[in-house]
Assembly symmetry: C2
Homo-oligomer: 252 residues x 2
């Protein structure tokens, strides 16, 4: 497996509402889980405000270091939707009205009051871009080179991800197996380290929690080879039992 | 108000579990809301994996551009907790055992099985660092220069934020007032733009949603001057009414 190519992605969340604490982001988790299913490793996330220069700079930094850059937010019809302009600036190309996007919006808004200037904003793309279908609400997402612009509303972003399912080249999905225990991390730290050492190609993450006044941790075993992750999980469960802790398959 | 200093912060979330989609992050929202209360503007968030080089590089990029850099995650007792080492590397200083942190852990674990090597890991800090109190579970947070290292478990991070409340120099908290309506963004885009233009020192964000099959949006008016935000909200509500939409104070 050593020579197998690893595909990577980054996510840029564009949104004052996340940075102000007003809105709990839901896109990081859903994009991360989706990437995992495509066999693509999410290597970094950034959240930046609705400012063209900040967006363009982050896009140019991120897109060059990964196979795919996804963005969420800022592709709607209002004055604070500046993702398309910012990404056109990042690529140093003009913004144009995409004829197919215009046709999609005309059809969608035909029975909903027709196309106005604000709605037409959602047909604007950086020159050279393609569309990402959006069966839910008409206005499409946009792909420019390796940059995929999705909506900020999580349900609409989910639809666009669905449309992209299986379309991106990726590797082997990462398999994770979780074992939990009401064990303080500090009591099992050595045991974890030794277990990880005994299993090649496997990483164990330890995620403490407090539940009903008791401390515990979930141990997440990740590998690109499912059998290795399973073997490591069994071994870990055995070691936890031997140390006097009751392992819980699937985590707590 | 033009010359008033704006205080800024960045947040670095350290965690493979977030990037793999396993865990829904809760720290961005709580740190963002806390910053807002301190009058500090959260300017950027990054999420990076548990890799020393990536953490150190992000820390050095971020800490120089803002007044305060907060980190969450990676300060526990297990092998995957490498935040202290990574930040020591970023500052090019050695890691030492902080005598006060050691004393805190000795006291905390005295009745809980005593201090072992794994627990002692939580007394390690970059040389020159100070402690951030953690009333909940003993192990303190760490401050190194303008970098504040908090726990990844949201309830513990919340306690550390509580301990830091009012301790950081900040400006005027941003006031936000929300007005919602079952209006498609594309029907009110011009109205929003005009309202924003009519009110200096105020920014209006528009956040669409789909609820029970109906589309709507919340309009968030933000200003460092509460009266201005309120005046703008009243004006916007009036304009929405005049356009045939029923405004909902506080949002939907």
């Amino acid at each position: 497996m050593g020579g197998e190519r690893i595909w990577t992605a980054a996510l840029l969340v564009i949104g004052d509402e996340i940075l102000s604490g007003r809105t709990q982001d839901r896109n990081v988790a859903q994009v991360a889980a989706w990437m995992n299913r495509q066999g693509i490793r999410l290597a970094e996330v950034r959240i930046v405000p609705d400012e063209e220069e900040r967006i363009a700079a982050a896009v140019n930094e991120l897109r060059r270091g990964v196979d795919y850059l996804f963005t969420t937010g800022g592709i709607g019809p209002t004055h604070d939707d500046i993702t398309v302009d910012s990404i056109a600036a990042a690529f140093a190309v003009p913004v144009i009205v995409h004829p197919e996007a215009r046709a999609i919006l005309e059809a969608y808004y035909g029975s909903r009051g027709g196309l106005n200037d604000a709605r037409l904003r959602m047909a604007r793309v950086p020159e050279g871009a393609e569309l990402i279908p959006n069966p839910l609400s008409g206005a499409p997402g946009v792909r420019m080179d390796n940059v995929y612009m999705l909506a900020g509303v999580p349900s609409i972003a989910a639809n666009m991800l669905e449309a992209l399912n299986g379309q991106l080249e990726g590797g082997r999905p990462m398999v994770s197996v979780t074992v939990g225990a009401f064990a303080a991390e500090s009591e099992v730290a050595d045991l974890l380290r030794e277990t990880q050492r005994a299993h090649e190609g496997v990483a164990i993450g330890s995620y403490p929690f407090a539940k009903d006044g008791r401390f515990g941790a979930n141990f997440v075993i990740r590998s690109e080879q499912g059998e290795r992750a399973q073997a490591c999980a069994s071994d870990l469960a055995g070691r936890l039992t031997a140390a006097g802790f009751e392992p819980v398959a699937g985590g707590i």
